[in-house]
């Protein structure tokens, strides 16, 4: 019989290696999945993980996409990780991302077609505020009424999607769009554009913000008292109250940061890669970021690497769709599998696996 025995202290070795093990296991399982779909598994894996970076023909296009996709994932995941560490489960980042984009875009479009250099900064602030305000709904309901923030933040995603639809066909629809849904193109209006900063890298302001967020989160979690309190509240809530941590304040703080960062991600996306508010503007970054946060073990540096890896599967998935006819959904399932394996092998860092007779009947 196999049994689990709790380690006296979490294993540092396994904490660092479990994500790699999970990636390896996912590749094996994914290979089987692709084979079942009638694709050559090795070719599929190469197309997803290798070709986007090194294919002689496609790499020049897909390499910059890496940062374009990783930027919002990292930005959102860093925010989420703070809450997850504290046991505060904001799973509605998708909604906060949408609201950040809408509020930010609306703030800019109110001044169309002004050429003021203040417009983009104003939009950035408005985007952060939009995401923040949307996250404050579950935060305040949790603090005031102890309403479950998991359910509220998630249900608000569906509300945000309806607001998005309403914005695209209604209050933000471009007057010059000939009646088609969708706002003016923000990436083509110089005052609101979030362009590629260094040609050929995919680097835009959102990616810069993501890097800053990683550094900020790293300092916060390892050096600052607040980071200590976040960890304490997540691991031992009663001990946190004994230490003088106000649970309500922490809920508001964590949801503020994650909401604002998700809103920023939405704003940078709508002014850059996406270009406009449209009905299908959101692309599940808010949900994929949850996988990124866990894959990065809720650690800022881990999240940076995990975001890049997940971006690679996005781009590689598109490439595999184009070259091998691999369905887009296969990549989504593949990402889900990655999270399963990660959660499964996590047991190694906190428990020792013993083979032999069970002590407990």
């Amino acid at each position: 019989m196999i049994r689990l025995e709790k380690r006296p202290s979490p294993s540092r070795f396994w904490t660092a290696t479990t994500p790699l093990l999970a990636v390896a296991l996912t590749m094996v399982a994914g290979g089987i999945l692709f084979a079942l779909l009638g694709k050559d598994p090795l070719e599929a894996l190469r197309t997803i993980f290798w070709d986007p970076l090194f294919h002689p023909q496609f790499a020049s296009y897909s390499r910059p996409q890496l940062l374009v996709k990783a930027g919002p994932l990292i930005l959102i995941a860093v925010g989420l990780s703070l809450g997850f560490r504290a046991g505060i489960w904001n799973i509605g980042a998708e909604g906060q991302y949408i609201m950040g984009a809408i509020v930010g875009a609306a703030a800019g479009l109110a001044f169309y077609p002004s050429g003021s250099p203040l417009i983009f900064p104003l939009m950035v602030v408005a985007g952060a505020l939009g995401g923040w305000a949307w996250a404050m709904i579950p935060a305040l309901l949790r603090v005031k009424f102890r309403t479950n923030e998991i359910l509220v933040s998630l249900l608000l995603v569906y509300v945000a999607q309806n607001i998005l639809a309403s914005a695209a066909v209604g209050f933000l629809r471009s007057p010059e769009g000939g009646g088609f849904p969708g706002s003016r193109n923000l990436s083509q209006w110089s005052s609101s554009a979030n362009p590629e900063l260094i040609t050929g890298t995919g680097m835009h302001w959102g990616v810069v913000a993501a890097f800053i967020a990683v550094i900020f989160a790293y300092v916060l979690m390892s050096k600052h008292l607040l980071g200590y309190q976040i960890r304490l509240a997540g691991q031992a809530p009663r001990a946190a109250r004994f230490a003088g941590v106000e649970p309500g304040r922490l809920v508001v703080l964590c949801l503020s940061i994650s909401g604002a960062l998700a809103g920023l991600a939405g704003l940078f996306e709508v002014t850059g890669p996406a270009g406009q508010i449209s009905i299908d503007f959101n692309s599940n970054y808010g949900f994929t970021a949850i996988i990124v946060a866990f894959l990065g073990r809720l650690h800022p540096v881990g999240i940076l690497l995990a975001g890049l890896l997940m971006a690679l599967t996005y781009i590689g998935g598109e490439l595999a769709q184009f070259m091998l006819g691999l369905p887009a959904a296969a990549i989504q399932a593949f990402q889900g599998m990655l999270l399963f394996f990660l959660l499964g092998v996590d047991v190694l860092s906190n428990y020792r696996i013993r083979f032999g007779r069970r002590s407990v009947a």
């Binding site: 008292l225 304490l232 031992a236 003088g244 106000e246």
Partner: protein, 506 residues
């Protein structure tokens, strides 16, 4: 005399520790047999093997002359072995009858079961209402549920794990009456305890365990408590000595504090008042679940009270949080070590930061000074003889006694003016308990005021200058400990907790 149960060379090893090493003893029908030993001596492992919860690595048991090797508790119960647990075996949100049904193999129909519960509970002097929710019962009544659950199965052997730790002296008397009656009817009782006087009054024979081995057997009535204690600990015991400072000014006072229960089955504090003077130790006795957690939370600042309900040096502090109170000089140590007083998965350095930030200046401008934190943790480890490889180890890797020394040391070394501790030696080995008591007395000797909340009356009599009782969320007036008798204390603790004593007519 024929044996009911004999245990021959039972051995059980866990990684890093041999919990039981060749343990042998036997028990006759109707015998009350004590299993005596310190925390960690291997008593729990031994009875878990007898009850089928743990499988021995080697050794054999015979019951009624036949081989006995229960694979699970169900098999043990079927063979006539029943066990009353110290904790963890009742379901708060279920009724008494449902709890009892869960402990039976083939429970009768609910209506029949209720009738049986009433009948058996009256026969043995332990009246109980089958329809009440267990979460609403007092500790003594909860224990009755467990005992009746066992008695309904007509056990031949009844195992009782530390049964009196949650009872008032009067309740202990009722329990002993029941156990004697059972023993007279031929039921053997295996009685686990570390309370020596109890064993001397109740038990026919005793097996003493130390470090997983049987170190002695004795007839308790013919052995002194001190002799048994030294067999149990394996060394001569030191009694803590008070420094004997005269009580000074009032440091902390509580005036008419009323506070709602912390949890669904918690206790509401009602009109609690007390004064604590510099240089004295105030002992607060009472059975767990009578408002101890709530009182500690109200004093530590975890639960806010009206400002004027708690005064520190005459200044209202009731509305202040734990950090502000620590800054003023009020420190505390809650009962639950893992998860409340310390974070299990965090290192000792991180756990030093838990309460030490203000008084030990472990944080500046919001940033934690990890070097200073490690130094403070090392200071606590050195001063309180905490056995651990170093401050980088997780709190949960420490034994109960060592972690408790760390927790108490962390507060004492912050040189508080007022220290409030709840169950400071619960589940702690005798040497660590003595060290903790000494530290509390030394702190008082230096002029601090100390409140010790404890279920252990012997401990309170030893360290406290004044004693008061917490019962049902109400605090009695205090009395000097010198000259208090155990009966007086029992009455202060609410006697038999208003439970009927049915032995009179039984």
């Amino acid at each position: 005399m024929t044996h009911l149960l004999s245990v021959e060379g039972l051995t059980k090893a866990y990684p890093g520790v041999v919990a039981n090493d060749g343990v042998s003893f036997s028990i006759a029908p109707g015998e009350v047999h004590a299993l005596l030993g310190e925390n960690g001596a291997g008593k729990s492992t031994l009875v878990k093997m007898i009850y089928g919860l743990v499988k021995p690595d080697s050794g054999a048991m015979t019951l009624n002359g036949g081989a006995y090797a229960p694979a699970e508790p169900r098999a043990a119960r079927a063979a006539g072995v029943a066990m009353v647990f110290q904790h963890f075996s009742l379901f708060d949100a279920l009724s008494v009858a449902e709890n009892i049904a869960l402990g039976m193999e083939n429970p009768p129909r609910p209506s029949d079961l209720s009738a049986r519960i009433r009948e058996v509970s009256h026969t043995y002097g332990l009246p109980l209402d089958p329809d009440r929710l267990v979460g609403e019962l007092s500790a003594g009544e909860r224990q009755r549920v467990e005992i009746i659950r066992c008695l309904l199965q007509d056990p031949k052997l009844l195992i009782m794990d530390e049964p009196t730790s949650v009872l008032t002296p009067q309740e202990v008397a009722i329990l002993f009456e029941t156990l004697r009656k059972l023993s007279a009817e031929g039921t053997a009782i295996l009685y686990i305890s570390h309370k020596l006087e109890e064993i001397r009054t109740l038990c026919d024979a005793a097996t003493i365990l130390r470090g997983g081995k049987v170190v002695a057997t004795c007839i308790p009535r013919e052995t002194t408590a001190r002799e048994m204690a030294e067999l149990m600990v394996g060394a001569t015991l030191m009694t803590p000595k008070a420094a004997g400072a005269a009580p000074g000014e009032v440091l902390l006072s509580v005036e008419g504090l009323t506070l709602g229960a912390a949890s669904m089955f918690g206790t509401r504090l009602q009109n609690v008042s007390l004064d604590l003077r510099a240089g004295e130790i105030l002992g607060i006795g009472g059975v767990a679940g009578n408002g101890q957690d709530e009182l500690l939370a109200a004093l530590s600042g975890e639960r806010r009270a009206p400002p004027g309900a708690v005064l520190f040096r005459g200044r209202p502090v009731g509305a202040l949080g734990p950090t502000e109170r620590r800054r003023l000089g009020i420190c505390s140590a809650p009962e639950e070590r893992l998860g409340h007083a310390a974070a299990p998965d965090m290192s000792l350095t991180e756990n030093a930061v838990l309460t030490g930030t203000v008084r030990k200046r472990l944080a500046g401008r919001g940033f934690v000074d990890w070097t200073a934190a490690r130094r403070f943790a090392e200071e606590v480890i050195a001063a309180f003889d905490v056995r651990t490889p170093g401050p980088a180890n997780a709190a949960r890797s420490l034994s109960g006694g060592n972690l408790q020394k760390f927790v108490i040391g962390r507060e004492v070394l912050q040189a508080p003016d007022v220290l409030v501790v709840n169950q400071p030696t619960w589940g702690v080995d005798a040497a660590a308990a003595a060290a903790i008591r000494q530290a509390l007395m030394d702190l008082a000797g230096k002029g601090a005021g100390v409140i010790v909340i404890s279920q252990d009356l012997d401990e309170l009599m030893e360290v406290a200058d004044r004693f008061c009782a917490l019962n049902g969320g109400r605090l009695s007036a205090s009395r000097p400990t010198a000259g208090l008798t155990i009966e007086e204390i029992g009455l202060m603790l609410g006697g038999a907790h208003d439970m009927e004593v049915a032995h009179a007519e039984a």
